[in-house]
């Protein structure tokens, strides 16, 4: 039995509930023991674990310290979801003039050190594996857990959502209907859900980061602009789920 911990930081619990779906499989439950998962297990501490899924992005110093401590006690860390990988939707606050202290929220003193810009996990600790998605997909978790137990990892696939549309035989919504679609620059893994519903991909799996550079993002944005999206919207659309990655690629000026 491998010891499994499920840790949540700043996030919505959507990914955690996909992990929960994976844990309902008999063979997976037979091979993993849950040492920490507050949503499901009435236990608030654990000493060490072989594997931990961490959902969410880092938004307080307290979380940053807790993660560093977690890293010492866990053998393998999986950054879970677009928040953990690229900051997630909460990163959007860093686009404007946001100051946590000026939001007039009833923040407790110890947690008042809230970062203006949420950090992806790899900015704080070494990450061993990444599962993208907003939310991640339970099938991907199942595949991962089965292979990990056997001592392996899923084969890395560097594709965009476009490949999934092609495999499913879906007509391109961007080309045939002129609907703005982020498929060409978004990580695969969802199964092209949005195009299958006749709408454009809105990038919730995050920016495809292999082979993508600022220039390519800008020329793609140019295409979206031709489709009639005003300037502000294409920025918001492309960066909505992966602002941290977007800013790396384009810098603060775009």
């Amino acid at each position: 039995m491998l010891k499994l911990a499920i840790v949540k930081i700043t996030s919505c619990s959507g990914c955690i509930n996909e992990i929960l779906s994976a844990l309902l499989e008999d063979d997976i439950r037979a091979n993993y023991t849950l040492v920490y998962f507050t949503e499901l297990v009435d236990s608030i501490e654990f000493r060490e674990a072989d594997l931990a899924f961490v959902e969410g992005s880092v938004t307080t110093r307290h979380q940053e310290e807790a993660l560093k401590d977690l890293r010492k006690r866990v053998g393998f860390i999986v950054a879970t979801g677009t928040c953990a990988l690229m900051g997630g939707v909460q990163s959007l606050r860093a686009m404007g003039d946001f100051k946590p202290e000026s939001r007039g929220l009833p923040l407790k003193q110890e947690s008042s050190e809230i970062y203006r810009e949420p950090k992806p996990l790899d900015q704080v600790v070494k990450v061993d594996y990444a599962l993208p998605g907003c939310p991640i997909n339970a099938d991907a978790v199942k595949t991962f857990l089965r292979k990990y137990y056997l001592g392996g990892l899923p084969i890395a696939i560097y594709e965009t959502v476009c490949s999934e549309c092609k495999r499913r035989g879906l007509p391109c919504v961007l080309v045939t209907k002129g609907i703005p679609c982020l498929g060409p620059i978004t990580l695969s893994g969802c199964g092209a859900i949005c195009p299958s519903f006749g709408r454009g991909c809105y990038g919730c799996y995050g920016l495809q980061f292999h082979g993508l550079n600022g220039g390519k993002v800008l020329s793609f944005a140019e295409r979206l602009r031709e489709l009639g999206l005003p300037d502000l919207d294409y920025r918001a659309l492309i960066s909505a789920y992966s602002y941290a990655k977007y800013r790396d690629l384009l810098g603060g000026s775009h």
Binding site: K8, I9, T10, S11, C12, S13, G14, C15, I16, N17, E18, L20, S21, L23, L24, R29, L34, F37, T38, E39, L40, V41, D42, S43, I44, T59, T60, Q63, G88, V89, Q90, L92, R93, G96, F98, P100, R103, L105, P106, L107, K108, S111, I114, C134, P135, N137, A138, C190, I193, C194, S196, F197, G198, R199, Y202, C204, D233, A236, L237, A240
Partner: protein, 426 residues
């Protein structure tokens, strides 16, 4: 004494204030780091908002998207095709089934049967575990057919849906609904035979959406006692936000200081008569009737699961082919309006108010979540029950079960509870 909460969705702690070794007050501290959604949504167009807003809560994203879409439709005067509206209701109801099934069987049932977790319960009672998993998986497939996926569905838009299901998809969904209903009824015998860890009256009044034609679902009026309030009236002066020192979440109380609760028990107690006959018969056969206390929430949740499945089934029966799944074009969005609406999310009334600027973008946004509204009632209920009792393991258990009973979804508002004892100096 402070102890992290477990078996709830999100992060927080139970704080027990003690005076002369006796319980003085019970507080629920929300330590979840805020994500500033109301700020994030500023400057966004309403279209993007409907998708982004579902990320407030991983568990009840349809409620958020649906609430936002309805708010914009109402203030922009958008008519939605009747069948399409029913389809969205079916999507929203399948989320209610999912959320309630997860709460009743994965969080509340282990607590009611004194197990550490559903995994432990699985080894003690594999049949119940298998059925609970089946129910969740049925709801997963219904949501995938209607909305694209289990969480953060992609098929809610202003003016309707992106794509209505085909005849073949509707037939598949019907099979899942039939399976879910059969499983829920089999599980009902166990769940409805359980008694809560503590029998207690609910503290405060229940608030839910005012409904004329059926069990409360979504609307623009609220019911408190016998009085009906417009949304802006209720949140503009009847329910008052309170900032409390021990929590990152805003609390809400009625003008006189009294706490109120929202959610399945509030809906059930007010609208029991509007539940379908099958749901009421089921409860009657196990000796349950209104009013229920909040700790008996699993009874209301089970009734709502059965009721929702019957309603989804009826909606799917009314299937027809739709050529135009949405009635609005992007250009119709105009500025200068205030858009507000409320839906009955699984945990209760979810209210949203959006002020659109002249450019048609969101200028200001207010979101009042069910859990935030329940926090004051949670504290009042636990305090009333435990005040002047000895602080021991039992007191902590009661404080924990109150938290679990309210099914706080802390990720959205404000997320497992620690328990802390703090001595008050005389």
């Amino acid at each position: 004494m402070r102890q992290p909460m477990t078996l709830v969705e999100g992060e927080g702690s139970i704080i027990i204030l003690e005076s002369n070794s006796l319980v003085d007050r019970v507080l629920y501290e929300i330590t979840e780091a805020p994500r500033f959604f109301e700020y994030i949504l500023r400057g966004r167009d309403p279209w993007m908002t409907v998708d982004l807003i579902s990320r407030v809560c991983g568990l009840c994203g349809v409620s958020y998207s649906y609430m936002a879409a309805k708010a914009f439709e109402k203030c922009l005067g958008v008519e939605v095709d009747e069948y399409i509206e029913r389809l969205r209701e079916a999507m929203h109801l399948s989320e209610r089934v999912k959320s309630h099934a997860l709460h009743v069987f994965f969080m509340n049932l282990p607590e009611l049967t004194r197990s550490r977790s559903i995994i432990e319960l699985a080894s003690r009672n594999p049949v119940v575990f298998r059925k609970a998993v089946d129910l969740v998986n049925h709801s997963r497939r219904i949501m995938s057919i209607l909305g694209g996926r289990f969480h953060n569905v992609v098929n809610v838009r202003i003016g309707g849906v992106y794509r209505a299901p085909s005849r073949e998809e509707v037939e598949r969904a019907k099979i899942e609904v039939t399976g879910a209903l059969k499983t829920a009824l089999e599980l009902a015998d166990l769940v409805l035979s359980l008694k809560p860890i503590t029998g207690l009256p609910s503290v405060g009044s229940g608030v839910c959406i005012y409904s004329i034609h059926g069990y409360p679902h979504h609307g623009d009026k609220l019911l408190l006692g016998d009085k009906v309030y417009e949304l802006c009236e209720f949140y503009g002066g009847v329910s008052i936000p309170h900032r409390v020192e021990h929590s990152n979440a805003t609390h809400y109380r009625l003008r006189g200081g009294e706490s109120y609760y929202v959610g399945p028990v509030a809906r059930f107690n007010k609208y029991y008569s509007m539940l379908r006959d099958e749901a009421r018969e089921l409860l009657k056969s196990h000796g349950w009737s209104p009013p229920l206390g909040v700790v008996e929430g699993y009874v209301a949740r089970l009734a709502e699961i059965v009721n929702a499945l019957l309603e989804i089934s009826e909606i799917l029966e009314s299937h027809r082919e739709v050529q135009k799944p949405s009635s609005i074009k992007q250009e119709n969005i105009r500025g200068g309006s205030i858009c507000e609406y409320a839906v009955e999310a699984p945990r209760g009334v979810l209210y949203g108010r959006f002020k659109l600027g002249d450019d048609g973008r969101i200028q200001e946004c207010t979101l009042i979540t069910p859990t935030a509204q329940n926090l004051a009632s949670m504290e009042d209920t636990a305090t009333q029950l435990l005040r002047n009792k000895r602080i021991d393991g039992k007191a902590v258990d009661v404080a924990k079960s109150i938290a679990v009973a309210y099914d706080p979804c802390i990720s959205c508002s404000v997320h497992a509870l620690r328990v802390e004892f703090l001595r008050i100096n005389p």
